[in-house]
Symmetry: C2
């Protein structure tokens, strides 16, 4: 196993499993098809993408009285990337916060996110989402979503404000929302691949062109094509482009196809690119977030990611060669990802650092058993065994552990300023659990610019493009340089609901 841990960076990254796909299947079109050519089918609202944003938009559209609402999903299953995310949901002023006596506010949540955004987040959008986050959470609960009975305090958040689905993944929300959407009368079609917008004479969006019977793996562009009319509007909720390797490399040449991603393969961003062709403003595409909780020992999001998110507050991350801490374990994602990739040997090869947790604590997370079973994390009875296994200097590690536990006892981390909430004053003690850390491409902060009404702005006129709305990860600029964990689900759902409400407000 020691050999396994000494693999070079290149091997390490090659072995991560999921690699990006080369290029989108849709052909380049000089101009959008025109509405004058007629339609095969008519809807009031067409929603592209079946993740958190699309499902919330669909439910809200029906509840606002729209008759024909359809959600199109290019993949064979519903939920997109949302279904495989961590199921973490941040909201202020929630029921569990009241129960636990946590003092929180919309403003506190906005300020935490602004700090992570490093000066370029969109404060108006952040406030709009934070104001409606609890409402979206309650929609999940109404739909039947179940949550762990405890709050978590994720990196960059000043208080515990994060719910997590009891299945510890996003499907714990997308499945109930799907059921509710169908009950409300939303039509949902899978293997329906968005090709292009259909525009009217004034440049507004009148509908879309879609390919039915699409098989992602086979890259078929031969399915049945239809032109669908959107009488009221199109809501794009297609997520990010973490799996579009040429596009992410155009923004960051280091994000080659050797770098893993937590995203499902369909996250390739074609609808976003088509919005740019209509005049949508590209915002912050260069800000691509890597998850600091990922493991180099498994593919994709895996089991370790959620395990780490849960355990970071009461764990110690150390450099394997020195045995010393190198970061605040609950700093924001970018700060941690940047710190983790500094762990290299003299030749510059990756040396994934170790996250050390008391087994007793670690095992409180449901993934702990799976982490052990799949050999992507290891249990040690003593610190000596642990140090031997990873070739870490024993005395240094022992000293670091004593120092860290001293900070926990004192309630103040003098090394890296980690916030030690009362609920997290937990020392790291034997027996120990260890996982290795190396970031994976996780989230695209960039996308198309939207207003707080979820409208897409024309880059030349500054006015909304008629009939076009966007919500969720496909929208850019909300979070700035770095999104805080558990702030994506509220954003997706609130902006999806907002798009439907904006359309409803214009119906009259």
């Amino acid at each position: 196993m020691s050999d396994q841990h000494n693999q070079t960076r290149r091997q390490l990254i090659k072995g991560l499993g999921i690699t990006g796909v080369a290029m989108a299947a849709a052909p380049a079109l000089a101009a959008s098809p025109s509405a004058e050519q007629g339609f095969d089918r008519e809807y009031d609202i067409i929603i592209i993408g079946s993740g958190f944003a699309g499902l919330a938009a669909g439910i809200e559209a029906k509840r606002k009285g729209f008759k024909k609402v359809v959600i199109l999903e290019k993949m064979p299953t519903i939920g997109g990337n949302s279904a495989i995310n961590g199921g973490l949901f941040a909201a202020p002023n929630t029921e569990m916060q009241r129960r636990d006596g946590v003092t929180d506010s919309v403003e506190a949540m906005v300020q935490d996110q602004l700090a992570a955004g490093r000066g370029i987040a969109d404060e108006t959008l952040l406030r709009h989402v934070a104001e409606h986050a609890n409402e979206a959470l309650e929609l999940c609960i109404e739909a039947g979503a179940e949550f762990h009975p405890y709050l978590q305090q994720l990196g960059g958040h000043s208080v515990p404000r994060t719910y997590q689905t009891s299945v510890s993944c996003g499907a714990g929300i997308t499945q109930p929302l799907l059921k509710l959407a169908r009950k409300e009368g939303v039509e949902v079609i899978t293997r329906a691949n968005f090709l292009n917008f259909v525009t009217d004479a004034k440049g507004g969006v009148a509908g879309i062109e879609v390919e039915h019977g699409y098989y992602y793996e086979r890259k078929l562009a031969e399915g049945k094509r239809e032109r669908l009319k959107a009488g009221k509007g199109v809501i794009v909720a297609t997520g990010g482009f973490a799996q579009n390797v040429p596009l992410r490399q155009s923004q960051d040449p280091t994000l080659t196809d050797e770098i893993g991603s937590t995203n499902m393969k369909g996250a390739t961003g074609e609808a976003m690119l088509q919005m740019f062709r209509l005049g949508g403003v590209p915002v912050h595409l260069a800000h691509i977030q890597s998850g600091p909780w990922a493991s180099p020992d498994e593919g994709g999001f895996g089991y370790v990611s959620n395990y780490c998110i849960f355990n970071f507050p009461h764990s110690m991350a150390v450099n394997r060669a020195t045995g010393r801490r190198f970061m605040n374990e609950i700093a924001d994602r970018k700060t941690r990802a940047d710190a983790i990739i500094e762990n290299r040997d003299a030749q510059g090869e990756a040396q994934p650092p170790l996250l050390i947790t008391s087994y007793e604590q670690a095992n409180k997370h449901p993934n702990c058993a799976k982490v052990l079973r799949y050999n992507v994390g290891w249990k040690f009875d003593t610190l000596e065994e642990l140090a031997d296994h990873f070739g870490t200097p024993k005395d240094a590690l022992k000293a670091q552990l004593a120092e860290y536990n001293g900070y926990i006892e004192a309630g103040e981390d003098k090394q890296f300023g980690k916030i030690i909430a009362d609920s997290n004053r937990i020392k790291v003690e034997a027996p120990f659990m260890v996982v290795r850390l190396w970031p994976k491409v996780h989230y695209c902060q960039g996308g198309v610019q939207i207003t707080p009404d979820a409208e897409v702005i024309d880059s030349l006129t500054g006015a909304p493009i008629p009939g076009l709305f966007a919500a969720g990860e496909v929208a850019g600029g909300i979070h700035g340089v770095s999104r805080l964990g558990s702030c994506s689900i509220p954003e997706c759902m609130v902006m999806g609901m907002t798009a439907a409400r904006t359309l409803a407000s214009r119906k009259a």
Copy 2:
């Protein structure tokens, strides 16, 4: 004058003179006009923009044998933003480096730029430009451009490799290039406002739509419209979007219309936005550079900017309230701009720091007299007078000056690691010159993605868009997070020449 220096940040920024323009005049078009509608006029190559990139492209196109080459400029004067830049030109292995015995290489120049680019610069493009930079410099000299007889070492460069025009501004290059372009037979038309691309049936660029007789100040969109055919291709060389306030704010909400810019008013980026509508890939738009050498006491690029660029290597920058240095005076631009805006009082109001130089040295730059005449810099016989004037603590300032001069003597800056070249071992001594520093929006690292052949890539297919080329600041991704000073002119000229050469190589 003390009152003047105590103005609040808001006042300070409001007073900068040039503010951004609201929005581009061109109407939003759902689709590009089609070539089937015919043309009013025919060219081989249409070049949009008359700065360094456009002029170099025009000259090279004629020299490669193209018959009808036209440069279109929307403003009433030639040269665009290039004409008012600092006229600084970096190249490795130049004649002045040989004369001075400076050891330099293409690789060294590339490595310096990669460091400033913070991991996301385009190494292939940087190398292509560095390899051809000296050739572009020699074209300037052939055209009649005159340069100061000394090399400068700008921030972030590891050796002196920067030429500067003897008039210390870009017009010292654009004027000779314009003369040469006309001599070679390039047609040049001012007040010709690019509106849109004309595409052929396959989505390639067949020509453009232009408005003649355009008056920027009056925002007329009523001039005579023509459709111009580009038989071989269109080269977009329109520069950045530093003066497009809504667009720059979409990327960075803090860059409001209260923030000054060094750019001429026409730098609003419409042609870049139209390229995105054709499918060009937006790259790094969020990376907008502020010039760390700008003064809050004058509008635009002014006199102080060039004065500072020349003087930084042998000057000391200090916080006004503490008298202490706060940065390496020749770090890269982003490092310095970030450090400068940290100079604030307890209320967060801007406290522009002071750049202190020996008058004897400062006066070697031609702008020194103008800086004094226009009251945007001040001369003091003693350090006491200087400290009194700005309310800076005398003892601290005196101690800092002695410390700094000690580093100069020793050849090593133990405070901030400033590289002290032998030619810059110059102490700061009485009488003193002082200017104040506050960054201004200067350069857009972002733009449209190009290949090393200056082709524009289609975001969906990854293939070049037929007939479309881009060069200069309008292209994005080359420099990454931060461009080094004096690397813009070589980039613009080399990529302009490259676009013409790519077209020529396909003629056969």
